[in-house]
Structure formats: C-alpha cells, structure tokens
Symmetry: C4
C-alpha cells in the first residue's frame, strides 16, 4: 500500500497537536484594569508552550523526512505509526502540568510535572526506535536508493541517545528541579540540532 494516507493522517495529528498546544495558552484570570500585569506573569508559561511547539515541530520534521524514504507500507508499519503517534498526542498533558506548576511556583509540583514530561519524551524516543527497527527488518518497504541508507545510518542511534538523556533527567529531577529541567530542555534541543546535523551531512544525497 502507498504511504499517502498514513502521511495525511499523521500530518493531521501533528497539525492539531501543535496548534492546540498554543491554544491552551489561555487568557489569564485578571481583575478588570490589570490585564497587563496578568499577561506579563504568563511569560514562563508561554516559554513552556514555545518549547513544546519546537518539540512537536521537530518530531514532525523527522517523521516527514523519514517517511520520505518509505515507498510502501504494510499493516505492521501502519500500526507502528499509531504507536509512534500515541505518546506524541500526550505531549500536551505534561506541558499543561508544567504551565500549572510554574504558575504556582511550587518546587514539588514542578518536579512532578518535569518527571511526567520526561516519561512522555522517553516513550516518544523509544517509539521512534521501534519504527526504525521495524523498517530495518522490512527493507522492502524502503525506497530502493543507496543514498537513503545514509539517512537511516545517521539517524538510527538518535532515539537511544534521547532515551538515555530522558532517563538521566528522570533520575536527576527528584534531587534538583532545575538540573532536571535543564536536561529535559537539552533533550528537546538535541532533536532539533540532530535534524540540522542530518541536514548538513546528507544535503547533497537526499532530494
């Protein structure tokens, strides 16, 4: 089967998620005449949404580039794609947890929020590992061009590296909120950097 509808369905899920994320950035509760102060207090929350936008956006970029190398799909790949999409649809939940914990400023709640985000991010990276493994074992699904092998080789260890970062973040967060937050942030930025590193190394061979 052609990957057209799998891509269209996935694009729909990504588009909804990335749009809804920011839609959760609500008008704050405020006393009439004090909207300005209320809005200013929202910047840490806006920052959380910007990071999640970057995260989901980068996941879409990888999904986009990866399925560009897939010529055929089978029922197994169709199902694995659902497994990849599920934890991604969860990103909105820990983002809201972080926004809520940042609003109250409670250390214990922030730790909870960061840990849940770590778990979701770890599951996402693990599901990408599953996707890459599935495709490697069903090589006939891939576009038959040597150049794509390079993309597959360059990216194949990224998910495990990310799983490691998020696992460390999980362990560190109970001891230090901000070190945990930094590791989480590093994990997310690592994806975007990996995408551009990919860009440089395969610029010519991928069209």
């Amino acid at each position: 089967m052609k990957p057209g509808r799998l891509q269209a369905f996935s694009d729909g899920v990504f588009a909804i998620l990335i749009t809804i994320l920011v839609l959760e950035f609500h008008v704050p509760a405020y006393r009439t005449g004090h909207l300005w102060t209320a809005v200013l207090h929202q910047w840490p929350i806006l920052f959380a949404y910007i990071i999640s936008f970057l995260y989901v956006g980068t996941l879409w970029l990888f999904h986009h580039d990866y399925f560009n190398t897939i010529a055929q799909i089978d029922r197994g790949l169709n199902f694995v794609n659902l497994v990849v999409l599920f934890p991604i649809t969860l990103v909105d939940y820990p983002t809201n947890l972080i926004a809520s914990a940042l609003a109250s400023g409670n250390q214990s709640d922030m730790k909870t929020a960061f840990i849940i985000y770590d778990v979701v991010a770890l599951l996402i990276s693990a599901s990408f590992k599953l996707l890459y493994t599935y495709v490697n074992r069903h090589a006939t699904l891939r576009v038959k061009q040597a150049k794509h092998t390079k993309l597959h080789q360059k990216t194949k260890d990224d998910p495990l590296r990310s799983v490691a970062i998020y696992a460390i973040a999980l362990v560190v967060t109970p001891f230090s909120t901000w070190l945990g937050a930094l590791l989480l942030l590093a994990g997310i930025i690592f994806h975007t950097v990996a995408y551009f590193r990919l860009s440089r190394s395969t610029k010519i061979v991928i069209d």
Copy 2:
C-alpha cells in the same frame, strides 16, 4: 468521482478525534504541592483514553485498508461514509463518561457509562456493515482486481460479530459492571486482532 477528498476528509475527522481524545486527559484538580498524588490517581482514566485511542486508531486502519480497494465513489457512498463517521465522532463522549464515572468510583454511574459506550460501539460496527453492504451492491465502485475480493470476504462478517459482542455486553452490564467492561474491552481488542489476522491472510495478495 475519485475517492481522494472523501479519504482526506475522513483522515481529518479521524486525526482530530484521536488527538482530541487524549487532550481531554486534563490537568487534575489538585492542592499546591500535591500534584504527584493527583496525577497518580489519574491512571485508570488514562487507561480509558488509551483504549479509545486504540479503538479509533484501529477503525482508521480498517477505513484506510477498505477504501484502498475502492476505485470510484458515487453520491450514495459519500453519504454512507458520513453515516460511518457520525458514531465514530461520538466515541469521545462515552470515553469522558467512563473517565468521569471511574473518577467517582460509583458502580451505577460506571454501568451507565459502559452501556453508552456499548451503544456507540454497536452503532459503529453496524455502520461498517452498511458500508460493506453498499459497496457489495455497487461492485463497479471497486478496484477491478481479483485479489481484493479476498479482503472483502475476510472482513465481511466482522461487523456482525462485533455487533453481537456489544449487544451481549449491553445485556450483561446491568448485572455485572466488570463482566460488562471486560466484554466491551474484548470487543475493541477483537477489532485490532481482526486487523492483524487480515494482515497475515492477505499479506501477499494485497499491495
């Protein structure tokens, strides 16, 4: 008419539903400093959303594979597709009912929630039966390839089997909440298993 836009529209509906489902998994009400306990109490609710994600995801898989065998659509099929999509858009409602009833733990409310879910699931399976019947009576709409007949034969009794499971669940639930829940769960998992059974039996003949 070509099925392109019918598929794109349906993909949109499925993508929104499956994404929104999990978006209903809200930040719990919690006292500052007690987010961890509040989040832990949400796992039964998360389970309800995971099952509904699996359900809507599997319905999309069937829709995807089925319309892969359709070469032409007419106005009747366009309308029948809306009839199929309507009960699917309702899935979010009983999922929220179950989440709400699980949160309170009240047996009577859980029975209500499971029964409404059974009714919606029964309507979905019945609408798929309508879809299969419509296409069988308008055979010119199908891709003219013998191999697809096999897919149509393998799947044609699935909807009625599901209707039977959900009807039994409907009758059993008032007497036993958990047996009713188990039957509902069995019905949903039956769809996913049926999809993979299909996969094995038609692996070679479908491309």
Copy 3:
C-alpha cells in the same frame, strides 16, 4: 492555480467543524449515582447535534461535488471560498445556543437560538449563491466538459430557495417557536434531499 490546496484546506475546516460539533456534547453535570438520568435528559441536545452534523456533512458533500467541476482557481475564487467557509464555521455557535435553550426549556431563549441559527443558515446559502455566481462569470475555471453544465444548472437555484426558506423561518419564529423550528429543520433536510435528487438526475453524466 490547481484547486488541490483549496480543497485540502476546506476539507480540514469541514472535518474540524463536524468533529468539534459533537465534542461539544459534554458529560452532563450530575450527582454521583445519577448519571443515567442526566444522560437521558441530554437526548434533545443530542438531536440538535445530529441535525448540525447532517447539515455540515451535506454542505461538505455539495462543496466536494462542486469543486469536482472546477479545473482552475484564481485569487478571487480562493477568497470567495473563505467567504463560504466563514458562516459555516459559525454553525457551532447557534447549535450550542439551541442546546443551551433546550436544556432550560425557556420559550423566549429558544426563539433567540432558532433565529440566530436561521441567520447563519441564510448567510451560508447566500454565500453558496455568491460562489455559483462567481464561477458562472469566470467560466474558464470550469472543467471543459458539457456534462458538468447539467450539474451547474440543476444546483444554481438551490441557494435562493434555501435563502427563502430561512427568511420565512426568521419571520415566523417570533410568533411560533415550533413552526419556526420545523421550517429550520425543513431547510436543512431540503439540502440533503437536493443532494440526492442531484444524484438521481446526474448519475450517468457525472463521473
């Protein structure tokens, strides 16, 4: 320019609307142990959502069939399509008004809700008239096949007939809530019937 993205964008808007409509059908406020009674009281509201689903679904069917006869788009048609989509995105608002008024059962509020729905429906039909007129004046945009002329002739007066029905409903509703509601319902069902009438008369000529 090709109509591909105009159709994809419109499909997205229709898919979101038709899905969100039913998502507004919320878990009712209920006392623990009384979910069943609360759910039963929601049936008139569910009916309002079913009618709006049928309405938006039928509008999509017409949009789908109509743009099937368009080979090229220009900037004017791109803009006219936005004008068509705007009142359609409003349908959710009067549907919620009707659901809210039905829940309280207040006659005066129901009249308000039906009148707002009439206004939105009238604007939708008027915008379709605008679309048909625009395309008739820019005949080069159409698929160059005689058979499509028949579709254009069959449908060209439908919008004005609908505008008339909704205008009468607008005038009647302040005097009789239920006669007004009946006219509104008749207007919506008229669209679906018109679609199938179209189906019979152009079955052979349209592919």
Copy 4:
C-alpha cells in the same frame, strides 16, 4: 524533497486555527429568558473574531500562493515554515484578550490587548520576511519560470511595510486606544488589499 507534506501540514494548522477562532465565540453567560440581550451584547466580540478570521484567511492565501512557486524544499525551509506557523498559532490568544477586554470595556485592558495583538502581528510579518529572504538565497528551490519572479518582486517588501504599520500601532496605542485599534485594523486590511493588488498585477502571468 517535494513540498506536498509541508503544504498539507500547514493547511492543517491554518484550518484548525481559523475554525477554532470562531469556536471560541461561546454561548454567553445569561439569565434564563434573556438570551437575546446577551447575544446582542456579543457583537463587538463577534467583530474581533471576524477580523481574525479575515487575517488568518489572508495569511493562508499568501502561504498558498507563495508555495505555489516553490518546486523543492530543503530542511532549512521546512524549519523556516515552522517559524512562520508559530506566531500564526498565537493569533487566537490576543483575539481572546481583545474579546475579553471589549466585554469589560476597560480602556487600560483594551490597550494591553491591542498591544499584544500588535506584537503577534509584527512577529508574523517578520517571519514572512524571513521566509522570503530564505527562498531568495536558495533560488534553486523555486519553480524555474520567469513569471514567478514577478510575484516575488511584487510581494518582497510587503512584510516590512506591515512590520512598520504594527510598530507604529505599538507606539501609538498607549496614547490612544482607538487610534491604535484603527492602525491594527488597517494593518490587517492592508494584507487583504495587497493580496488582491497582487491578483490584478499578475493575473495573466500566474496560472
């Protein structure tokens, strides 16, 4: 890489935004029997949503026409497109701020709301400038036809003109709410007018 999925993903984001915008136009809080008065009081708010619909719709029209001139995308353009989409997803937030401030009628809150809208609009125009600059520096991405050069030349200064309008609005709003509002409105209408001006000047050369 082909721009197909970038367009589909962007169409999804635009479709969700433009639909959700109006969905935020909620049933007003009202006492039973006074829905009519409550609805009438919503017209200034409806006006805010209509303007944002026009704004997001026009941004889609430009995105649509612009990517019509792109034959190939690379990873950089894929990322720049995310940068363009981000501030657009923010439009819903200041629209709600304006709706909220208009509802209370407080001058100071209105200024806040208009200023936030100005900032978002300025970021959107700046991101379009980034998009145009990126494509100009990677000319191989463009459709190789002289006629499109005209589109690029006609539109290349539009973003900077808009940035200027919104910057002036930003400065003026603290001194005069209504002059600020007028400048914001002028900026948005400027986009729509620019689209039609484009239409006239390139009617023949673009197909």
